[in-house]
Symmetry: D2
Subunit: 354 residues, 4 copies
């Protein structure tokens, strides 16, 4: 395939799973009577529904891995639209390189892993396992991020603030080309999105470009502010539930806020609910695969309502999310609008004891 | 074990593997004639030695997972001391929660995973798989970080700059209690250490505390500056080799600098050498387990000298690092002292074409 | 839980997933437009349906792992009943310890892995990950197998012949207590079931008992005869498709029949279709995780219609099997009744060339 | 690589690791003070040495996966030669396709997984992950097995008996071309080798050929006899230790003998020591990855001296076996010569109570 052309590689776009069209309640109920991952997934689905039914609970969704390039974007979009999630902590890949990228009108394409990566390199096509992306379209996304960075007043920002700016950008004119933009939906619903490793994605390229050309005076990314803000959210929410897809920084960061609050002497609870969908193994000692029971030793997660599901996300998340969607407990939930709180400079900040 | 006491749990400290005392050359040579992981590890060891023998190559070490709590700290210390590494990209856990923590005189302890995590919680002991930590000692570390943050002029910093400050702190008086502090050694050898997700560790707690108490004027963490600085390093180094332990943000971040330079129109090469030791599976599409050949499609890594090794790090790294240490190619290498370059405000910065 | 009682542990029986009640066609079609495991599962589902629609193709189902204790038994029962499978190669655990065991009226119970295995030992409860079994009921199964062995004329048998005897036993009087016995259904439908490692299960205990008490004259298990019989099936079938759940001996054994036929100089084709659902990793070089492309180098499997799915079976098999069931291509298939062929002593056996 | 030739592919033979030349004692002692797999491997090494030092303990080595093609053959050879193992339970791949195959003078070759398997097929080269084999040489091995089968008196045999015949064949004239044949060494040392799924390898092809051509009167493989014989070994040995490389049938079969003895009412102990080296995950519920604690619920393995090591075998086995070899506890062990017992038709057989 030495001389393969981009147009031959980018033919069939990935399409996103639509939970509103698939009711998995009876399947999940059947799985609850089985064993292994099926039963675990059924229990996790039930716990997610409990989070939504618990009036005191705010739901924090954690996203790691290449989820949206794989067709899981509309699921999260529907969760945002329907008050099924109150805050998001994600890798930059999902929010910036994939959701914002698609919001600009670009696509991910069905590819294959049986391929010569040098030929892809020549064709300017990037690969994520079995998925292809137009490298030049990614460049457009990078440049848009650079523009947005350039439009900001030079000072430190949380990633959440910048992602809100990205939402504002998409809300402007015809900038947004799709109906299922999470960045835009979260902007409108005032759902905060945190990307604690924000330079580790297309936004990093945008800010690199912005700062390189403006070495003296520029916007910067303050991940400590992210942490401060998410602790604020935790304090405001009485109880919290974590729905974690994959591990990595989002899992670590979201779990850590209870410890952060404790360090400040601020009264708060461990996360009351916790679900993780992952194939990571606990035996290498890394956080991505560490059990939620281990997190209890750290004071992060309570163990009554915790469940790990051993599955790649494209199989488990559609089933879990469809279940919760059709159970409908979210219908009685109000939007938390945490962005409003975080943006309100006059809102009182709880005083630290230590 | 309902009423277990901390003193019963924290008895046997983890001790660090010493590559200077174990010569694995003949073992690695024997493994090069086998198959599977043994042969892969032998080839990776050879590639690392080639990086060190290649006068034009700078070595970037990427660290993810809980490596230093597991006894791998002195290996990286010896690599820093002996010019076997020119820059480090790491998770915060390794550098802050584990190396800096031990630099203050604290220890990690041999524990077990067969344990009641609620009992650990009551005893104020935190668990990493089979390793125990004194939660109160971690608190001392958090507070020290808060002090260091408070001592900084209020402006954005790269994580590298703050870690240099941590090194300076350890170099002061008797603050450093151990002989194998990586943070201190890197400070002295002017080896930059980047932690792109810097709020995702004890430093996050330190900066949270600092900023919470100083909401109007405070030091902040700018991970875009990290990116700018590592691109500078890449431009200064003719060639680069990546030695990656685990995946996560460090792998992604370090690979991305070639794309970042390309985006600015700055002439640079893909990473010439790349090694990754990991147990992550490629089949979930996440970056941690993605093959180095996939990275070639993105223009990140060349494929002539790349090798993935499927192993948990505590088995593979001692063998690989001992091999390279005793081969001795590092003896002819000069220290790159990239911190000097990055700290020199008058150093000319390559002009971007785009 | 030192003094836990059996009756406290064995309360909630595992129930089996019913593919006739869940139509996953639209879900699978949606998954075919995604990436990663979802797309792989959709393609595998399509390939299975193609096998069933291909009039020249016989379907060989391979079963490894603890599938039936986990609620997957009725799926295979329905496949047997509806001509969706023409031969089965399995571990003994599935067919003897689990299907035959349940046929005698016993159950598997929902348990947990968070348990003290010494306490289970004392309570005479056996554990499979999160599933509990009454050890005394297993003993009844072992003894029944010993009885059946004792009823046989002393000579070597293929496992298939013995499993047919087990089916005959269940067909007698009220011996079979359930409606979804695979052993009984296969007996009635004349679908051969092979367990090449037949001593590695409750049947092993049964034959151990039988032979120990009858050292001079006894029935024996000839796995070479299994191989001969499955090669006969391969020769009779023009084309074959493998649907493999897990790896192990069943995968190896079923793949090997093409090589066996070749060795005898008998004209046959590689397996035309091949699907494997597994979480095994290819990187340890073991056959369970080896790719189906690797199998092509051995002349076992063609690569046009092959698909591996990276998933634990309780998630993937219900979706795949429901899809194929509701697509209905099996409705035009005739039962192959290979047992009739294999039992017919006068049936001509193809002459070997070598 | 459409027209690649066999001679281009089969150039560099795999060479076997020699534990007598690498002393890993100090490395293992250092690893015992670390965490994760390194500490687990150190503890497993210590347990294996304890088995050898325990005068009442017989060691049963279980082998699954493609170990000998990967360079681990001479390790097992040295273990047999030096009374470090008293019985072996293996897959056929290791003993027949790889050890016996190499005993005939053939080799395994260093290959690569980055290859077109169709081209290998055309070149008559078979692939195991990154290893190549001459398909025609495998054919010679199959035919030799067929000859050996043809030389046997027509009756059922345990795999152990047939493997002894293979050893006798190698002991004849110049049939054995190598110095490190396990089959030959075990024959001479009277160490029984069991392959419970004996038809699932080159022996299967040999017996297929033999029986196909002699349908009326032929030697057959009785795996129930294997089970009987290994229970005999268990009864004769006071205590037993399992050293398991990989999982599969060998793990299951060897663990089951305590249950088999119990079923006959014969007094025996659980396995006192148990080690498993594997990368299999416990979360799919299959036996290969099931914990040794789970085995305790079944009455198979005691939990005082059990250790699982999460590693691919080519990394862990050389370290563990070198440690035990150089510790030298085996020097005081006598050869158990269980073949002599099993072959003695007049040896009294313990009477079953049930």
């Amino acid at each position: 395939m030495a001389n393969v052309k981009k147009s031959d590689l980018l033919k069939e776009p990935v399409e996103h799973f639509d939970i509103t069209k698939h009711n998995t309640i009876s399947m999940v109920e059947a799985m609850s009577k089985m064993a292994f991952s099926a039963r675990d997934l059924a229990r996790a689905s039930d716990i997610y529904d409990r989070m939504l039914a618990d009036k005191d609970c705010s739901v924090i969704l954690c996203l790691a891995g290449s989820l949206f390039s794989a067709g899981l974007k509309k699921i999260v979009f529907d969760m945002v639209q329907n008050n099924m999630v109150d805050a998001i902590v994600s890798t930059g890949a999902n929010i910036v390189d994939q959701d914002f990228f698609e919001s600009l009108g670009f696509k991910h394409y069905k590819g294959t892993k049986w391929v010569d990566d040098h030929a892809l390199r020549s064709a300017r096509v990037d690969r994520i396992y079995d998925t292809f992306i137009d490298e030049d379209e990614l460049g457009v996304s990078d440049n848009t991020l650079s523009e947005i960075a350039g439009s900001l007043k030079p000072k430190p920002y949380s990633s959440r603030e910048i992602i809100e700016e990205m939402g504002k950008y998409l809300a402007t004119g015809k900038n947004c080309k799709v109906k299922d933009s999470i960045t835009l939906a979260a902007f409108k619903k005032q759902v905060p999105i945190f990307v604690p490793a924000f330079s580790d994605c297309s936004a990093g390229f945008g800010f690199l470009h912005h700062q390189w050309h403006n070495p003296e005076s520029h916007a910067s990314i303050d991940s400590a502010k992210d942490f401060r803000e998410l602790v604020r959210v935790k304090l405001e929410a009485k109880e919290t539930g974590l729905l974690m897809i994959g591990g990595g920084v989002p899992k670590n960061f979201a779990q850590d806020i209870t410890v952060g609050a404790e360090m400040l002497g601020l009264d708060t609870n461990m996360h009351k609910y916790a679900i993780q969908i992952t194939v990571a193994d606990e035996r290498d000692g890394a956080l991505s695969g560490s059990t939620l029971r281990e997190a209890c030793s750290w004071g992060k997660v309570d163990t009554v309502w915790e469940q790990m599901v051993y599955s790649e996300a494209t199989l488990a998340l559609p089933i879990l999310a469809s279940y919760a969607y059709h159970k409908g407990s979210w219908k009685k939930r109000a939007a938390r609008k945490y962005n409003a709180l975080l943006n309100d400079e006059k809102a009182p900040i709880p005083a630290a004891k230590y």
